[in-house]
């Protein structure tokens, strides 16, 4: 690649913890990599596996799901449901030949603005190292 390749990460953030953490990162003027695009859902439990597969199919280099810490879910246990689905997704995705680093689930509470930076910067760096996702595989989904 001539100029540095910029991966694109689709992020699903829950309305009550991770989305607010990202807002906090903003109000605290914490700087991080500009590679994520956040889609707000009420709860990480709303993230339908199809969303993730569609994102990869349409050319996402990575998908990040953010929810409340275990026990802190605004809807009691949506994040546990998300976790179960996530495990399933991981297997599915790897069968499609997509590297595991490209799919990530993180618990980030509304108070952890700096964690948003840490996670996004780390994931961006990993994806840069990996290079663009092999879309052909993804489209098989």
């Amino acid at each position: 690649m001539p100029e540095e390749y910029e991966p694109k990460i689709v992020a699903f953030f829950c309305n009550w913890c991770t989305y607010l953490a990202a807002d906090l990162a903003g109000t605290s003027r914490i700087k991080y990599a500009p590679n994520t695009r956040v889609i707000r859902v009420m709860c990480s439990g709303r993230v339908d596996p199809q969303f993730v597969l569609d994102a990869f199919a349409k050319g996402a280099d990575g998908v990040l799901i953010g929810g409340c810490h275990p026990g802190d879910c605004h809807y009691q246990e949506g994040n546990y449901k998300a976790l179960r689905r996530f495990r399933l997704l991981q297997r599915l995705v790897s069968q499609m030949g997509i590297e595991p680093e490209r799919l990530r689930l993180e618990w980030i509470s509304a108070a952890e603005g700096d964690r948003v930076r840490a996670v996004i910067d780390e994931m961006t760096a990993q994806l840069k190292a990996l290079g663009p996702a092999r879309r052909s595989h993804a489209e098989a989904a």
Partner: protein
């Protein structure tokens, strides 16, 4: 089921937010790009979209340009979604045809590269434009709000919140963990900067609580469970047995004198262990309720069963003492909750270099409050643990505050209460007083004046964080005293100052069980562990859980006036809800498309609110919109994609995903 109804005409509005957004994102380019997107009828940028003229743009365009979808690229929806929905409604359009794009918190404030930030904004706007086309008209739901309120914590914050709501005619349940209400304020001697007697201004409010027809006071009790949702919380309160029945006790306190323990033997919690109490006791004379407690840990009858039970004898036919009392569980329904669970002070043992717990004459500030108090353990006479009166006192500020090794925040009240204690100790003992501070913080009405007063009283102020308190003397002049070693950073040299008494101005920190309480009420904590408010500026007493409000130090360190003000604010917010009698709810509930439901019942198992039932006759699931909180878990779980969610329809999210990823 949403589909593109008629021709979609979208208006896109890009906010500069002064330079907050425009300083990083190229708003002109963004607007120009948006104007070229499919279905976009008009795209504008404006300095402040949230201002009236900004909102007018939307209203005008809806009428003149016949817009039926609105996209606002500005700040977080948590801040202004309501604003733009209202503007849209005012324009004669259903408010749910709006989609916000967060290009401030999630873009301009967190990125530095103009090109990258603008590109990100472009992606996000494109996604919103595609999404909003699939929006549909929705009506807000309503939940009724019960007129009863629960206040947790009976310190000055809880007391004031409870009284305010009770005076407004609402029924209030005040639950306090300790045997009496009053909290920390009851332990203070005087209050800064006015030096009026803490008890004198607190106790009238305490008895007001006791006598208020609209207040149910449960002391020695804990909230053990809470279910339901805003307006309709079901609360379980467990009342621990005090072994003296409040309904029968007349508060004569004869039982205390009658106790077989002629000499009190148990360290008195209220006096910070500086005095002793009996197994049957009342925390302090003006305690509310005026009902003694029996502490089974130390009562002979409970330990051995071999007590003469003189307390019961003297209580006579009042029969108020009941050694067989059991814990009681109360179930109540309330519409709103005010949390006022307060703080705890930093444990000075965590800073061993100051010798608390090792040198008897090292005290915490709270201990001094009791020591100088006329009704305290020594009747207000300042006597050292080793006997005698101090001729010199060192007050060390910022103990367990502003310290990365312990608590990193400023506790806000220590400077002022240290000044207060300096004044009181000088008044009581005439001792030489040394204050050791890092920065003197007196930003409050009359605070700076108070500082000035102390300076004129010849109290010493030495700027420097004390390194250690030791009894190792370097010179005969230090023999038998505690030596404070500190750099006098203003004079520029290290000093050793021998004193008879050391006072540690310990900071304020979250209660040890703050995390459990937070989970119980389903709210969040900030990093420090204090309860997190919904917005630091605009919603300082709200939480992210509707109907639950914060008052006092459980939200962060603050002094009494600020606590009372905040308690009033919390009460007002709760009252506003209860007086309205109902609250509008986001119409983001899930719903079943019956014809495609396979009746597999997967959804029923995943719903945390039991909002989904199975209609046997029709063999399909049905969702009760009142119980549904709109998390969408069932939607994602439904194998036949037959459960859907308003505001978060699959199409809408797919459009958002593809909008983000489609490179223009």
């Amino acid at each position: 089921m949403s589909e593109m109804n008629g021709t979609v005409r979208i208006g896109v509005y890009v906010c500069h937010c002064g330079t907050n957004i425009a300083g990083i994102v190229d708003v002109k380019a963004l607007t120009h790009y948006a104007a070229g997107l499919p279905n976009v009828a008009v795209a504008r940028d404006y300095k402040y979209m949230c201002s009236d003229p900004g909102q007018d743009l939307i209203r005008q365009d809806i009428r003149d340009q016949h817009l039926n979808r609105i996209v606002v690229a500005s700040c977080s929806p948590h801040l202004h979604e309501a604003t733009f929905r209202n503007a849209t409604r005012a324009g004669g359009l259903n408010p749910f045809f709006v989609q916000m794009v967060n290009i401030r918190e999630h873009d301009s404030w967190v990125h530095t590269n103009h090109a990258e930030a603008t590109l990100k904004a472009i992606d996000m706007v494109r996604a919103a434009v595609r999404r909003v086309a699939y929006h549909e008209a929705l009506e807000k739901g309503r939940v009724s709000i019960r007129p009863e309120a629960l206040v947790v914590g009976g310190g000055i914050a809880g007391i004031h919140a409870a009284l305010t709501m009770a005076n407004a005619g609402k029924h209030v349940y005040l639950v306090e963990r300790e045997p009496t209400i009053g909290g920390h304020m009851a332990q203070f001697d005087k209050t800064f900067p006015t030096l009026d007697c803490s008890a004198c201004i607190l106790t009238p409010k305490m008895s007001a609580v006791k006598n208020h027809p609209n207040i149910t006071l449960w002391t020695y009790s804990d909230v053990t469970a809470i279910e339901g949702y805003v307006g309709n919380y079901n609360v379980t309160v467990t009342r621990r047995p005090r072994y003296v029945r409040e309904d029968l006790c007349v508060g004569c306190l004869e039982c205390l004198e009658a106790c077989v323990y002629k000499q009190a033997k148990v360290p008195d919690e209220f006096n910070m262990g500086l005095s002793k109490r009996r197994p049957i006791y009342i925390p302090f004379p003006q305690a509310v309720p005026q009902t003694p407690v029996i502490d089974p840990e130390t009562c002979i009858q409970f330990k051995s069963g071999k007590c003469k039970k003189t307390c019961i004898e003297v209580c006579g036919d009042r029969h108020a003492i009941d050694l067989y009392m059991q814990p009681r569980t109360e179930h109540i329904e309330v519409g709103t909750v005010v949390l006022a669970t307060g703080f705890q002070t930093y444990d000075a043992r965590r800073s061993p270099y100051y010798g608390y717990g090792h040198y008897p004459n090292v005290y915490t500030a709270l201990e001094i409050e009791r020591l100088v108090n006329a009704s305290g353990p020594t009747g207000g006479e300042v006597v050292l643990r080793t006997g005698g009166h101090p001729k010199s006192v060192g007050i060390i500020h910022c103990v367990g505050s502003r310290d990365e090794n312990t608590n990193r925040w400023c506790s806000r009240v220590c400077c002022m209460y240290s000044l207060k204690l300096a004044h009181l100790l000088k008044e009581h003992t005439g001792a030489e007083i040394f204050n050791f501070y890092i920065d003197m913080r007196t930003p409050g009405k009359g605070f700076e004046e108070f500082y000035q007063k102390l300076l004129s009283e010849h109290v010493h102020f030495i700027r420097g964080r004390v390194a250690e308190v030791t009894d190792a003397s370097l010179h005969s002049s230090e023999e038998g005293q505690l030596v404070i070693r500190v750099e006098d950073t203003l004079a520029g040299f290290v000093r050793r100052i021998p004193v008879d008494m050391v006072v540690l101005a310990t900071g304020l920190e979250p209660r040890a069980d703050a995390q459990e309480v937070r989970r119980l009420f389903n709210i969040t904590c900030s990093n420090e562990g204090f309860f997190l408010e919904r917005h630091p500026k605009l919603a300082p007493v709200q939480t992210f859980t509707e109907g639950i409000f914060l008052a006092g130090c459980c939200q962060g360190p603050k002094d009494i006036p600020d606590t009372v003000a905040q308690a009033g604010a919390a009460a007002a917010e709760a009252l506003a809800l209860m007086d309205a009698g109902y609250m509008e709810t986001e119409p983001n509930t899930a719903y079943v498309v019956e014809e495609s439901c396979s009746g597999c019942k997967t959804c029923i198992s995943v719903c945390p609110y039991h909002a989904i039932s199975f209609l046997d006759e029709r063999q399909v699931s049905a969702i009760n919109p009142v119980l549904c909180k709109g998390c969408g878990t069932c939607v994602a779980a439904c194998p036949s994609a037959t459960i859907r969610q308003h505001l978060f329809e699959d199409e809408q999210i797919f459009e958002e995903i593809e909008g983000i990823l489609e490179y223009a």
